[in-house]
């Protein structure tokens, strides 16, 4: 039995490695094509008010409340499901844009003799942080829907803000933790 297991594991590895390599090569090819178009335009993060407004609308409870008040429970449930799909698509798009941005950066950095390893590592860490944050958000939206996710994010940021305030009160000025991402004021509703 154990001998068969060894062969099974070895066989699985022998099959998995070429498949993974081929898949990666293919992905790389696809991404290179995407990148060609993406390099010409910079991602519209925050710069475009229309995009920001539309993005915020996905997570706004107003539409959902309206549908819930005016239609049947089944329609309201269907609406929430559609909103979750939309929110996941939106988040997926943002993640893709950022991946393309980082890819363009890496392609330029690899040729640049003035590259600073410390800066590259910091940038890599920020990218990882972004991926982890948005990955968690993706999971939360998938699990509880965009409206609850928005509430959850709101609570988390509020809590983090309070902790930061507390740390500012307790710690001396030189050792305060700078959390730039938490300096976000909620947008005014339309």
């Amino acid at each position: 039995m154990s001998a068969q297991l060894y062969f099974l594991v070895i066989g699985a590895i022998a099959v998995a490695v070429p498949v993974l390599v081929l898949w990666r090569e293919r992905q790389r090819g696809l991404n290179e094509n995407l990148l060609e178009g993406a390099e010409e335009t910079s991602p519209p993060f925050g710069g475009d008010p229309v995009t920001s407004e539309l993005s915020a609308r996905i997570f706004d409870p107003e539409d959902s409340e309206f549908v819930a008040g005016e239609t049947s429970r089944q329609t309201a449930r269907s609406f929430r499901r559609q909103r979750a799909v939309l929110a996941l698509d939106w988040l997926g798009e943002v993640r893709k844009e950022v991946s393309l941005l980082m890819r363009a950066h890496r392609r330029a950095a690899r040729d640049n003799p003035d590259l600073t390893p410390a800066d590259e590592l910091k940038l890599g860490f920020e990218f990882l942080l972004f991926q982890v944050t948005t990955g968690t958000l993706y999971l939360v939206i998938w699990l509880v829907g965009p409206l609850h996710a928005a509430r959850l994010v709101g609570y988390s940021l509020e809590l983090a803000g309070q902790l930061r305030k507390l740390s500012e009160d307790i710690l001396p000025a030189g050792t305060r933790v700078a959390v730039e991402l938490l300096d976000i004021e909620p947008q005014a509703k339309n």
Binding site: R28, S52, W90, R103, A108, A109, N112, F127, T133, V153
Partner: protein
């Protein structure tokens, strides 16, 4: 009989890779790799003679020559780094900073053991010492491959073959030396057959990918190359943070 056949097959394929390299003028592009393979061929042929003529000396001959091979294997990793990143100064700079750290990290185990051991060989057994050295090689190879993947460094067919083949060889050696003692009799019975078979596969990969020299593709002109690195990194960081804020703002609104 089967093992002898595998041994002979290995000799034939090793010779074939070397002859093809000599005929195809590939030797000069990967000198360390071919030096390594020549040594392996010479060692395999000599060990076969020792095995039949002086069987009692086989163990010594095997282990001393094995350590020479491990040292030359490190040269192969260095050559992979040198050839693959020669046209990418930024990625090469990153590798020069990351790889020594990885080396120290992976080799620290050997140094700690050497410090605590009364013998000059750091491991308790030669098997253990070889495993530790192979783990260092594997860590360096993994670090390099991760770096190539991160910076999307294109691999030429020749280099791809060297990396795949050598990685498979080092990985199977580490598996053998690590799990050999834990997985019991059946594993010890099977492994002497599995490892030479894997090695034949490795040689086939080398035959296929190193049959002829593949010149490096033309470098694409990168419009962002003219930009100063610091401003480029700052711009990327700014956009990354903007994206982060954008997502949180949209959700929190």
């Amino acid at each position: 009989m089967f093992l002898i056949t595998l041994w002979l097959m290995a000799l034939v394929f090793e010779s074939l890779v070397l002859v093809r390299a000599a005929l195809g003028n590939v030797l000069k592009y990967y000198p360390f790799f071919y030096l390594y393979l020549s040594c392996v061929l010479f060692r395999d042929a000599s060990l076969m003679a020792v095995y039949y003529l002086w069987p009692r000396l086989y163990g010594y001959a095997y282990w001393y020559s094995e350590f020479l091979n491990v040292a030359l294997g490190c040269g192969v990793v260095w050559e992979v780094y040198k050839v693959a990143l020669s046209r990418y100064p930024g990625a090469a700079r990153m590798a020069r900073n990351v790889l020594p750290f990885l080396f120290v990290f992976a080799a620290s185990r050997i140094f700690v053991k050497a410090w605590n051991s009364p013998n000059w060989i750091p491991g308790r057994t030669t098997l253990e010492t070889e495993r530790d050295l192979r783990i260092v090689q594997m860590a360096l190879l993994l670090g390099l491959v991760a770096l190539f993947a991160y910076y999307a460094i294109p691999w030429r067919r020749n280099l791809k073959g060297i990396i795949y083949g050598f990685s498979v060889f080092v990985a199977t050696t580490v598996i053998h030396l690590t799990f050999g003692n834990y997985l019991g009799e059946s594993f010890r019975y099977l492994w002497p057959y599995i490892q030479p078979m894997v090695y034949i596969v490795v040689l086939l990969i080398w035959c296929w990918t190193l049959w002829s020299y593949e010149a490096a593709p033309e470098l694409e002109t990168n419009p962002r190359l003219e930009i100063d690195y610091q401003s480029m990194a700052a711009a990327t960081k700014r956009q990354l943070r903007a994206a982060h804020t954008f997502v949180l703002k949209a959700i929190r609104s």
